[in-house]
Symmetry: C2
Subunit: 632 residues, 2 copies
Amino acid sequence: MSTRSTAPLAVVAFPEHGRQTRVAVGKTLLDAAHAAKFEVSNVCAGRGVCGKCRVIVSAGSEHLSPIDNLERMSLSEQDIKQKFRIACCAKITEAGSIEVQIPSESLTQVQQLLVAGVQPEVDLNPLVGKYLITLSKPSLLDPRPDLERLVEALRAEFHLPELKTEYLALTRLPYALREGAWEVTATISKDGVITWVEAGQTNGRLYGFAIDVGTTKLAGYLVDLKSAAVLAKASVSNPQTAFGSDVISRISYASKGASELAELQCMVIDASNTLIRECCVGANIEPREVFHVVMVGNTAMHHLFLGIPPKYVALSPYTPVLRSSFQTNANRIGILGNPGCLLSALPCVAGFVGADAVADVLATQIHKSRSMVLLIDIGTNTEIILGDERRLICCSAPSGPAFEGAQIAHGMRAEVGAIERVWIDQKTLEAEYSTIGGEKARGVCGSGVVDAIAGMRRAGLINLSGRISPEANSLRLRKTNGLMEYVLAWKEETQTEHDIVITQQDVEEIKLAKAAIYAGTSILTRHLNVDTEDITRLFVAGAFGTYVDPYSARAIGMYPDVPLGRISFVGNTAGAGARMVLLSEEQGTEAQRIAETMEYVELAADKDFPKAFTDSLYIPHRNAENQPRSTG
Amino acid sequence: MSTRSTAPLAVVAFPEHGRQTRVAVGKTLLDAAHAAKFEVSNVCAGRGVCGKCRVIVSAGSEHLSPIDNLERMSLSEQDIKQKFRIACCAKITEAGSIEVQIPSESLTQVQQLLVAGVQPEVDLNPLVGKYLITLSKPSLLDPRPDLERLVEALRAEFHLPELKTEYLALTRLPYALREGAWEVTATISKDGVITWVEAGQTNGRLYGFAIDVGTTKLAGYLVDLKSAAVLAKASVSNPQTAFGSDVISRISYASKGASELAELQCMVIDASNTLIRECCVGANIEPREVFHVVMVGNTAMHHLFLGIPPKYVALSPYTPVLRSSFQTNANRIGILGNPGCLLSALPCVAGFVGADAVADVLATQIHKSRSMVLLIDIGTNTEIILGDERRLICCSAPSGPAFEGAQIAHGMRAEVGAIERVWIDQKTLEAEYSTIGGEKARGVCGSGVVDAIAGMRRAGLINLSGRISPEANSLRLRKTNGLMEYVLAWKEETQTEHDIVITQQDVEEIKLAKAAIYAGTSILTRHLNVDTEDITRLFVAGAFGTYVDPYSARAIGMYPDVPLGRISFVGNTAGAGARMVLLSEEQGTEAQRIAETMEYVELAADKDFPKAFTDSLYIPHRNAENQPRSTG
């Protein structure tokens, strides 16, 4: 690939998705799709055998390699007529313009889920509603004030209880009435506040916006509150990352003073407004037409978003400022939207179990499950929720940043060039791997490390206590500076021109990380007095959980020993839960009920946690048979 | 007085009031007091005979003329020992420093009233209260969020209903709790909102601020909500005057667009904040300790203060945007105070009868009167209220700016050099007058014009229909450009070196102005079917009404024919009413009830108004005997 930088480039466009990329001649359409940030299904890691990465080449097929026999094994004559190609087989042979469609079935479920998350059906009953009304014109004999005229007519026509009025609505009211020739549309919240008044008939247009404020990323969804349709989605990095990738360093910064707190708040509000603007442009809607914004996030993000000091969330006993649902005018914290737009922040549970966890429950409906369900949302702090319709219990396990590649010898974030999948042959002890974007390896990300350690354990290269065997007969095993390590990628294969290895220390770090989760889970099961077998479903939420191979995750003891068939990836359930609250007032009440009834276990204060943690510092765990379960 | 500019100056200080002025040798202490803007009682117009202008010279008496015989007629030996002087007699004889105290009985009732207004006793029960509470410290076993901990403790200790929290209070809460070592003082409004939390015990300090937003002037009062004491008062010009002295031109400007409206709003908010700052400095209180601000003003001022478009208040049928009491966080419109400070705007009645009129009723308690009461608050628009405990009726009479000196040949505002009092000898037909500040006359202000016309009428120089007689035998009567006029001051006596006259046209202007008031009053009496004799009390409110001589005002037919003994000057009742609402929630409810029940008569729509107006275009009015009533 030494010619890469000088190779001629082809332009590959994905008109349906509005994306375009330039890739070097010699690359495949799969490479192009990756470069354009699509996550195309690709079970065989680009070997042309699984046939999952089907795409349609709608123009420029003359710049591609002809369909070969391998490709024909996955394509029917009909497919070929419809211009289907297997993306990993179709090589770009010369510079030119190529147009590609990616059918949604060819996108990974991962990608679909990550943005959207599962979302149960919800009866449409949003917190704000629009009311079209025609008023009598004032006269010398009936000079009632504008507001009184409006309120009396609304109450009479719609049998509404007493109405209050949002201050900012008054600044618009007289003009709206006269511009609409006394026909206006009032937006009224369920608690009887007129939040805005528009001239004429606008009651067909009512929009909401859900924001999931993650520590690393914000995801936003523009929702039509008349049809429940998600009209646009967008995501953006959390700009607070400049003050540290973990919540603790941001809390420290925000705790320096009022202006530092305001600075972090501004950052996340600006990023949220970027999402709103982007989605509104995409859907051809004015931000002024957004009447309700629902926000979820972990407790620290929740506090920073609202500009509430998060200092004591980080200090024992980890006390949030508030836990209950909170509502105010969105304008007051600088959120873009209608001047009368409501902002709802979902309730939190505790310092480290936030509104996102409440939304997770709402979206997965654990609180209505007849049988026992476990939900794991893996992050620097991993939220674990266990329960059913009778009782819900949760904790936050301090799993640390190892799964994000931190504190791992050759660890890196899940970016292009990261080894994300690893297969170790149990006989030859050889490793195969795939990287993100298909580029030469630069390092290994969390899912790769988990795969590697699971593979090493299955191949007997690691024992129950996690010690890398010094005896196994493989060139890939060696001792450096007195510590054992396993070579994942030889330097010839890497961009860094150094071997990429998994060290004994890496195994220790992953053991600590996964032990926190495993121990947290076992504390919860102990509290509810349930066995692993009782867990009928394991929901894995969030980005990392969705990327990591469940077989490997279970093999290293990150998840309890449930059959693989019981594991479901639920994606961004935090965002899905926020959308549900947009769609229905009852879901907001439900969220409050969940937050109030969900029991919180502070692991730091649990007397059984130290032992549970120590018992989890094995691979998979002390109580496992020597070989971990290998089938689902 | 040609030496005035070169005369040596003495410094006269009024240390008790923190004022000081420089006056020329030869001037009196009364001149000095006027220069320092005191209004000293001065019934004899500085002739040394009434003895009302008693002051104490605490230092520098050697720079004054010795006590003469005239002065000794008003001072006892005891008074002289206590260093009393008659201010209009004590002349400054040489340059030097003099310190003077003005006992409050020597200030005019006018000045006392103008700032304060009458104010009935009110049971102290403010809308916001402070609650001192000690909380348990959070621990791993009790990690309840700060807000929950606070709310639960408050509810338990004070038996409070459900509590909500003002958004901004959350931004302070965690720090307040810890700085106070879990002892905090929460401020809670009567409707169950925690508006702020302070560290430690601050429940002895709770302040409110009342603002009367006049078209020309703002008056502010800092009130101790624990003792009902008025701690400081201040007034400032309404800076909106730059956009016109009348409400209509300001409404026009504000109606140009959102930024013009915002501009006018900012001006009045800035001026209000100046008052708050000034009063707080004076009373050694932090603006942060102000937890409730009550605002009154006419409907246009009310709308501009809140940033609500007043456009349609000025256009028939003169519809305000809202009439009812309005409350929001004061912060939201930029008012200085605690971040959780509440702002209450008193209710309005109609486009030209505003919250100030409602406050007038509250302060004068007309709505509780057993007998019929009339209240007149004279301005460009004159509010007239008539009624008793059973029924209240009001109107706004378009009296125009003539009483402010506009459209009068030599008219001017009530400023230094304005002729403010006129006496015309019924035999000699000669005029005597006094000017504001005792300076040479520059023109004549409203009260002077009213006095002059009343005097001319009594002296037979004007007939019932207001015609200046061309026959009377006086040098002061003459015809200029075919129109009759009466010379008030000869050019030798004036600063302008022109004669100051009252013209036939001036009489016509005043007739129009007073006719509006008289006709408005008669429409109200007709509506309630009462006779003038039934009016047991006539309250005259506001600055102009307090300055104008009631004997003259009645003589020209500005007031109905009630005995003078029934007329009471009630001063700034708008400010007094606002203070009552600060002191007691019930008064706020009462204000709302007054606004709702007070009947409004739109004179422009009243079929009897045109005739009533025409009948009032006489002096005093068509139905008067030829000579107006001359005794009270």
